[in-house]
């Protein structure tokens, strides 16, 4: 069984992004970029399936600028077998990403695709569901447990109020939640080995996918700030403030 893992290059989660003063977006030059944390979890899950003898090959794919190949190298260093870079400098929305991934899947024919539940830059939380829709496959989103069971996959999902388990016919789509696993760090020898693993380069045009955005970003602004309040000296002072000043208890 082949497993496909889409990985996205995003601003590192430790970076506090700044809005550009002219309102055209956020400052992305000279900031540290990393693999979307949920995608690391997706790569890890695919590798565990391979180590368990269930997956035969793990293929990572990224859609983005030339530098997205660094993100693919990270996936390869973790243990993925090969990479596909669909190179574009354009802004690609989740719907366009899903269309490109559908075309990649038509060529690669994986039985399972594992994505992150959301990318921490746009926080759209859409791509996996859209891809499942375009393929007519079942979707196990926000997964905290994934068990392959013959021709099906059992996915335990984090939902409001608890957990839900669904059974999906393979091929299927899974998106990862935070507690599915703890991703491994790439070891130095594996980082060296990854340099020799193949990365195929493709383009959206080559797949015949129109990536023209459907959403027009008019402005990007700083959120309304919150000013720091006061430090109180004691519990009784706090209770008095909450009661008399804030009126919330």
């Amino acid at each position: 069984m082949k497993v496909l893992v889409p990985v996205k290059r995003v601003v590192d989660y430790n970076v506090k992004v700044r809005v550009k003063s002219d309102g055209t977006g956020v400052e992305l030059s000279h900031v540290k970029m990393s693999m979307n944390p949920f995608d690391e979890i997706a790569v890890e899950e695919a590798l565990r399936l391979k180590e368990a003898g269930i997956a035969t090959e793990v293929v990572a794919v990224s859609i983005g600028p030339a530098q997205a190949s660094e993100t693919l190298r990270t996936a390869l260093a973790m243990g993925a077998d090969r990479g596909i870079l669909v190179k574009t400098d354009a802004t690609v929305e989740p719907l366009a990403v899903a269309k490109i991934l559908k075309a990649v899947i038509a060529e690669e024919a994986p039985r399972l695709v594992i994505l992150g539940k959301q990318a921490i830059d746009d926080d759209a939380n859409q791509t996996g569901q859209m891809l499942a829709a375009l393929l007519g496959w079942g979707q196990g989103t926000f997964a905290s447990k994934v068990v392959i069971d013959g021709d099906a996959v059992l996915v335990t999902r984090e939902i409001d109020g608890g957990a839900q388990t669904v059974r999906l016919a393979l091929p299927a789509i899974v998106t990862t939640d935070l507690r599915l696993n703890e991703p491994r760090y790439a070891s130095l020898p594996n980082i060296m080995k990854a340099k020799k693993k193949p990365i195929d380069e493709k383009s959206p045009d080559g797949y015949g996918v129109d990536v023209a955005p459907r959403l027009k970003v008019l402005t990007t602004a700083e959120p309304a700030g919150r000013k720091a309040g006061v430090k109180v000296g004691s519990v009784s002072e706090l209770v008095a403030k909450l009661k008399d000043e804030a009126g919330v208890i």
């Binding site: 989660y13 506090k16 992004v17 809005v19 956020v26 929305e93 989740p94 719907l95 899903a98 921490i120 746009d122 926080d123 759209a124 939380n125 791509t127 569901q129 859209m130 499942a132 829709a133 375009l134 979707q139 989103t141 926000f142 059992l154 999902r157 984090e158 939902i159 409001d160 109020g161 608890g162 957990a163 839900q164 388990t165 669904v166 059974r167 999906l168 016919a169 939640d177 507690r179 955005p213 459907r214 959403l215 027009k216 402005t219 990007t220 602004a221 700083e222 959120p223 720091a228 309040g229 006061v230 004691s234 519990v235 009784s236 706090l238 403030k241 909450l242 804030a246 919330v248 208890i249």
Partner: protein, 314 residues
């Protein structure tokens, strides 16, 4: 044409986030129809019909929708979409699962988690964990929108819409329900609570959550939240997580106990009306957003706070 609002419920009761999303749906300017998809969910449909400004309630009552799996529910929404300019839903784990599937089937780019309706095609939404607010205009003929309910006030009662039955659509047949484990709690839900008491890594154990955090929540009639670190360590269940990748809340009062204030946590609570922080490190970033900060050991402060509040509440 009209706007279709997908209701959030548990087959028995309409979830309060629906009335908040209704406020956003109404702001689009067209009549609003509410879709209740469930099993034995008549009471839910009646509750939706009683909300002010609802024009009509569609009830799809069928075993196929008992657990609102994405595949059959998306098929139902797509079958209805022809009659609507916009499909709107409160942002919940259910709608986050199903709405992008609907959007892709309609070849529409969804607008996720809107916090403001600027005009019927233009919306504000947070990106980068709320560190930037984007104003986006959708060029799609049909809009598919999820609503961050913490940003909208609930629409009140006062409606008397008709409830109309709609038939089930064929099951795409790629998914089935296996089981569900839902926490039962007498406390209010995080997304509906007026007061939230949250604990972080510093609480130290599940037992301490029960001994220190939960009693304070109970005297306040509050919901209990947690940081990701506390959830990852197993001190609190997954769905208590507040933050960028957990729940986004905006209660009247948010009490952060032993939480440092990482941007991912702030993303989930910084729109709360009043924030109280209790932390032993006076430099902790949480104090930068707190209205009232108390520096000290939570294990000494929180029990004292509980008894002081109990006294005030008489």
């Amino acid at each position: 044409m009209a706007t279709l609002l997908l209701a959030e419920h548990d087959n028995k009761a309409l979830n309060g986030v629906t009335a908040k999303a209704l406020t956003a749906a109404t702001a689009l300017g067209a009549p609003v129809h509410v879709l209740v998809a469930g099993q034995d969910a008549k009471a839910v449909a009646e509750a939706a019909a009683a909300l002010s400004g609802v024009d009509k309630v569609l009830l799809a009552d069928d075993a196929l929708y008992a657990h609102r799996l994405a595949e059959p529910l998306a098929a139902l929404l797509v079958s209805l979409a022809g009659g609507y300019d916009a499909i709107v839903a409160p942002s919940t784990s259910m709608t986050k699962n199903v709405l992008p599937r609907v959007a892709a089937l309609l070849d529409v780019m969804q607008v996720s988690d809107i916090i403001k309706v600027v005009s019927p095609d233009t919306f504000e939404r947070p990106i980068y964990a709320g560190n930037a607010i984007q104003t986006v205009q959708s060029t799609d003929a049909k809009k598919v929108i999820t609503v961050r309910t913490a940003s909208f006030a609930a629409t009140g009662a006062g409606g008397s819409a008709a409830v109309e039955a709609v038939g089930a659509q064929a099951d795409p047949g790629v998914s089935s329900f296996v089981d569900e484990s839902l926490a039962v709690s007498d406390r209010p839900e995080l997304t509906a609570a007026k007061i939230i008491v949250s604990g972080g890594r510093a609480v130290g154990s599940k037992e301490k959550f029960g001994e220190v955090i939960e009693p304070l929540a109970d005297v306040l009639g509050a919901a209990v939240g947690a940081s990701r670190a506390a959830v990852d360590a197993g001190y609190a269940p997954n769905d208590w997580q507040v933050g960028q990748t957990g729940k986004v809340v905006a209660p009247e009062l948010y009490v952060a106990i032993g939480i440092s204030g990482a941007i991912q946590h702030l993303a989930g609570m910084k729109d709360s009306k009043v924030i109280v922080a209790i932390n032993k490190d006076e430099e902790a970033p949480i104090f930068q957003v707190a209205d009232y900060g108390l520096v000290g050991d939570l294990f000494a402060i929180v029990p004292e706070l509980k008894s002081e509040i109990a006294k005030v509440k008489g």
